[in-house]
């Protein structure tokens, strides 16, 4: 039994699945405001959300 074509279709199914998920999440980012006027706020917040080093530098 040659599984060549089923395995190729299997890989392309994954391609399609990934593409569909990418489209879904891309649209979701627009709805969640990543491209809006407050889209840059997060880059400032990430600087505050790390370790507060307590040992001597």
């Amino acid at each position: 039994m040659d599984y060549t074509w089923p395995s190729v279709y299997f890989a392309y199914l994954f391609f399609f699945l990934m593409f569909a998920l990418a489209v879904f999440f891309f649209v979701k980012t627009a709805r969640d405001g990543y491209w809006g006027k407050d889209g840059e706020d997060i880059k400032y917040r990430m600087l505050e959300d790390g370790d507060q080093r307590r040992t001597h530098e």
Partner: protein, 464 residues
């Protein structure tokens, strides 16, 4: 803002602060640098075998055919992916403002990952090999990789789902992309390829090989760079929107590029053309990332003088640019006719995996290890030495193989030159490659020793 501390540095922390246990991070940090050192020895031996082919005689488990897959798998999965997983466990909880979902599951993932890598060392030396590039691990170990990845994915996704903030920093997007893409790339490369035959099998294999770099190591590596460059330099990212452009363009175009390894081969012309077109389109996400990270450092370049993490990070960005410019260019049919299957390709691959992504991982380890263990870095001077050794050795390695690869390709395209003459002609190239490899290995030893001396060193006194 809620304060966050590693457990090792939490003495005197205010009530309500988030205390990260970081046990999982410790597991991955220590094991990954151990494999970096051990597999570095293997790398040195196979580089020496190019210069002295009779080295180590005909003992089966010391032959090039056994050691080369061990080097590839050891560096990819034992060092780099393990280091990247550890740094993901460090970064994601901090960006989400919560503790990791399950520290126990994380430690179990670390233990299982070590079982896989040790199993790979034994089985590959015994010659048990599936026979596919990057997919050499035998079936039982491949299944365990899938199990470990599911454990890792569940832990990171559950941490992200319970995050304190709705908006996610770009690093989290890259990590989640890596989790998803690795699942399908690994399944395709290690299972689907076994069911295909002939040209289709080769095509699937190259899809896996290229996407192993592009959809596993690239997203996790960039996630690490996007986190540590702003944090180490204490400078906000130039543009979060531009970082999202880079992420989504990578998501849309990368998956089709693998077939450019089959140019001038027996696959369909339309598939070759698609691979070339998508390879050229990669310049969009690459430039979006590189421009963003370079401009972030505008006015801050002086910090490279004092911060070894930034030296590694920004050198990694430049290597990322170079390797991602090379990729699209040698996907063109005319260039590919010269460099395909030559030493140019390992030069290109090493610049991506060592020059870019390992530099990011080394920088992350230098930053995170002292914090999670509550120690000061053992030696800043030694860290700088490790940078210069790996940097100079790496440059010698990459440039020698590009030039040698071009020379090799021109000779192969001349039918009047016997093949064996092209092998003999490359000996000076391989000698420089070995010397460069020695320098890289010395740098790896310095890095590994520095981190282990930090881990095992005396406790530091809390300043607060």
């Amino acid at each position: 803002m809620q304060e966050q501390f590693s457990r090792a540095e939490s003495g005197g922390a205010a009530p309500g602060a988030i205390i990260h246990e970081d046990t999982t991070v410790k597991w991955f940090v220590v094991s990954s640098i151990s494999y970096f050192f051990i597999v570095g020895i293997i790398a040195l031996i196979i580089a020496a075998k190019f210069v002295w082919p009779d080295l180590m005689g005909t003992t089966a488990w010391l032959t090039y055919g056994r050691l080369r897959p061990l080097h590839v798998n050891g560096m990819l999965f034992g060092w780099l992916l393990a280091a990247d997983m550890g740094l993901t466990f460090y970064i994601v909880p901090r960006l989400c403002g919560v503790k990791i979902w399950s520290e126990k599951l994380g430690v179990a993932t670390g233990v299982l990952w070590n079982v896989i890598i040790l199993g790979a060392v034994v089985s590959l030396l015994l010659g048990r090999n599936k026979g596919f590039e990057y997919g050499e691990l035998e079936m039982s170990l491949s299944v365990l990789v899938v199990v470990a990845w599911l454990m890792f994915t569940a832990n990171i996704l559950m941490t992200v789902f319970q995050r304190k903030y709705q908006a996610m920093y770009v690093s989290i997007w890259y990590f989640m992309g890596c989790l998803l893409w690795t699942a399908f790339v690994y399944l395709t490369g290690n299972f689907a390829t076994l069911l295909a035959t002939g040209v289709n099998q080769a095509n699937l294999n190259w899809m896996y090989v290229h996407n192993a770099v592009g959809l596993i190591f690239t997203p996790v590596g960039l996630g690490i760079a996007y986190y540590f460059i702003p944090r180490t330099s204490n400078t906000p990212l130039f543009s979060h929107k531009l970082s999202m452009v880079g992420f989504w363009s990578l998501a849309f175009v990368y998956v089709w590029t693998g077939a450019h390894h089959m140019l001038h081969g027996p696959i369909s012309q339309w598939l070759q053309t698609i691979a070339i077109a998508f390879s050229l389109m990669l310049l969009v996400p690459v430039w979006a990332v590189v421009y963003n990270l370079l401009i972030t450092m505008k006015g801050q370049w002086h910090q490279l003088r004092d911060k070894v993490e930034l030296k590694f990070l920004m050198s990694g960005v430049v290597f990322y640019l170079l390797t991602c410019f090379q990729g699209p260019m040698h996907s063109l049919r005319t260039v590919n006719a010269i460099v395909s299957k030559t030493d140019w390709i390992p030069g290109h691959a090493h610049m991506a995996v060592l020059g870019a992504f390992s530099f990011f991982a080394i920088a992350g380890t230098y930053y995170a290890a002292p914090r999670v263990f509550g120690k000061l870095l053992h030696s800043v001077a030694l860290a700088n030495w490790s940078y210069w050794m790996i940097m100079i050795g790496g440059l010698g390695f990459f440039t020698t193989l590009w030039l040698g690869g071009f020379w090799q390709g021109w000779q192969w395209n001349n039918v009047s030159i016997p093949f064996i003459d092209t092998v003999v002609a490359l000996k000076p190239i391989w000698t420089v490659r070995f010397i460069s490899g020695v320098m890289i290995f010395v740098g790896i030893v310095m890095f590994a020793y520095n981190i282990m001396a930090t881990v095992l060193g005396p406790e530091t006194e809390a300043a607060a």
